[in-house]
Subunit: 230 residues, 4 copies
DNA sequence: AATGAATGAGCCTTCATTCAT
DNA sequence: GATGAATGAAGGCTCATTCAT
């Protein structure tokens, strides 16, 4: 009743140096350690601010977290917007995957955005619903449309969803499996340099699979053999 | 469920009812909440043991965690061992995927084993190295061999690794993305009933893609400009 | 209600809308929650003022409290002054009790004045000395004079004080014991409607006792053995 | 779920040196400063115990407070029980008042019991209901019966309650008004020495008043005059 | 005359750990 | 072999206060 972001309720933005530094630091720490393991002390220390400033600007640790997610959302919008809509479906899918992989592998960016959302996906906070509605669902629709177009007559709702998950899963593997990857294949660095190559692999892999599903027209067990490749 | 290490009779000893109950309870709680969020109190409460018993039996919270992982490992061995080695590569790959998906979706089991390893993959503890060496690497080899065989002349080290990740990534997606899936597609339950169908989809998808890679000897049929592989 | 000190034109200045609203709000909150439980935030919120305004206008939370007491004092003067001086002692005592009970039971007023002083009586702040000197002692004198007159030849200093406390105590009971009263006798509301009846009871009760003390010249009519007074 | 007085749920008692010292210290501090102003640090410091011991033994600051009240209750029982039931009503009322005044003025006792209950009366915590039921209501009944007997035919429910409050109010005045008393009449010490004399005054005062009410048989305004004394 | 921003101290609570039996 | 009792460190939060404008 007598707190909340100090009388500036509707300005979701940036003005205020401390507030901004706090958001950045919190994004970094939350994405690295998760909500509970992140301590307000570390966040404030990183931002060079007093411990109580979190209470002042965001009321709460939860309030800070929520605001960090909204902040990440605002930053994410133009990444989305900058993607080209032109080209045929195959090309657009490849582009989509490239953008996704780039996000997963932290290619030239504040870098914690992707990690934070990945974290929410694995162990959701009450904020996940909003994230799904604002960030994930729109992108999911784009992907669904692409897959549906590529499947052509073979597209059923169920199959579109499965293919979508297959594509996203391949991308996510390079994020959530990065620690395993590092230990299993020390020679294959997951640097941003490899991003393009990885994305192409996933695109090739997925397009071939979808082609096969379309050609076979039945997802039957051995239907795939020989067809898609020729 | 809690059979003492069958092949390793002199294992660091599982006798002691309390000790064993502690391991089971800890596995359950650690897998559900992660290392830090799990409290010794809850674990002991679930096991009906004294708070100090963790210190007594395992010296430490970390000691308990390490021992839980080794305990899970011993239990995991025969799951691995029970997988069929017979059949051609296509069939064995499908079996592999079915087993993996079943583990991910907790099909009829005490079931914290899979969840715990999934957790370690995302935010590793010092114990991850041991897990990789003892549990993950062996399975990874099995999968590598399968993929290599299926790729035939098209198999390069790099490509085998990429395909392996594509397959594992699709499976993991149904675990790490389960919260998103539930929100995005409320109609499609991720129950154990769907496990078989999902596994078949992933097998079809992956086999088709691998076939295409093999046939084309170039990553994709009509690789949209830029030829990722070369 | 918030008329500036009428008889004291040069009083430490009440001009300034914010300052005045702050005093009113603080009186309300302090009287309801006590000094420490009252928060500056709530007071300022109620007054629609900035948090720092307390420091600006009153230097301190303590400064605000002191000033609130002085403000209440100024408001209290005419209540005191408006009491009738006419009539015989019995009637004047009854009037005194009615005024006191009305103050205790908050009969149709902004009403935090009485509550605030009651609070100071129970756990005094450094400001209590001033309150006693300026507010309480004058009224106490009035009551002493009445009791002395009523006791007549039986009046000793000690006995006058005791009777005075007996009268005040009965009145205070309806304030400090209100929560007990509510629980013990849910049927008997302590509303302002009952104020007059209660005051009459206390007056009857006390006058009868004083009469007896005077008549017997020994504390009680048939003082049960031991004669307390002698 | 996993806390509460350590597995000794039904033993409301003493064993445990630290636990007992904690109860005593808490009683002292709570009675002097009230629930919120009392700090766990001060209580533990006074008891020579660690800060966390409150959590261990009583789960909570609230839990400690509740237990302190129950502890005070147990101590209070024999005070109650030791009161004589013999004698006529006048004498029993005088005894009642003496006991009450002795409690108010802390005559030779752990000393915080009375203060604590007095505090609860003025600003109740959720525990007040229990206190009323277990401690206050029984005593209140005793007093009601005495007053009813003394009023004889003049006793109505309403009048009995009023007289009861008049008696209790006089006693409470010496507790809640002690700070005022000290400042107003520095000569009259409120030591335990004066307790007996004060109690006798209240008894004389109240008995005379009740006699008058009985004689007048109507509580009318001027009915008291001349009657009770003769 | 007044305020938004920031601060440091302190409180309650929780947790893993240890000690003595 | 096992446990009840006790502890110290740390975390989140609240509050009165101050600074710069």
């Amino acid at each position: 009743m007598n707190r909340a972001a100090p009388a500036r309720p509707a300005a979701p933005d940036d003005t205020g140096a401390t507030r901004l530094k706090l958001l950045e630091s919190a994004g970094e720490v939350f994405s690295r350690k998760g909500f509970r393991d992140a301590t307000i002390r570390e966040i404030c220390g990183l931002a060079g601010a007093n411990i109580a400033s979190v209470n002042y600007h965001f009321r709460d640790k939860h309030g800070l977290y929520t605001e960090v997610l909204r902040y990440a959302d605002r930053c994410a919008v133009h990444i989305e917007a900058s993607e080209p809509v032109a080209g045929d479906a195959r090309r657009r899918l490849r582009q989509f995957i490239k953008a996704y992989i780039a996000a997963m592998l932290d290619v030239g960016r504040p870098s914690w955005h992707g990690r934070l959302i990945a974290r929410e996906m694995m162990e959701p906070s009450p904020a996940l619903d909003a994230i799904v509605a604002q960030i994930i669902r729109p992108r999911s629709r784009v992907l669904s449309d692409l897959v549906e177009e590529l499947l052509g007559p073979a597209a059923t709702e169920r199959r579109v969803i499965r293919c979508k998950f297959s594509i996203i899963g391949q991308c996510l593997a390079y994020h959530s499996g990065r620690h395993i990857h590092k230990r299993l294949h020390p020679g294959f660095e997951l640097s941003s340099k490899a991003a393009d190559e990885i994305a192409d692999h996933i695109a090739d892999f997925s397009l071939a699979a979808i082609d096969a599903l379309r050609a076979g027209h039945k997802p039957a067990r051995r239907a795939a053999r020989g067809r898609p490749g020729s």
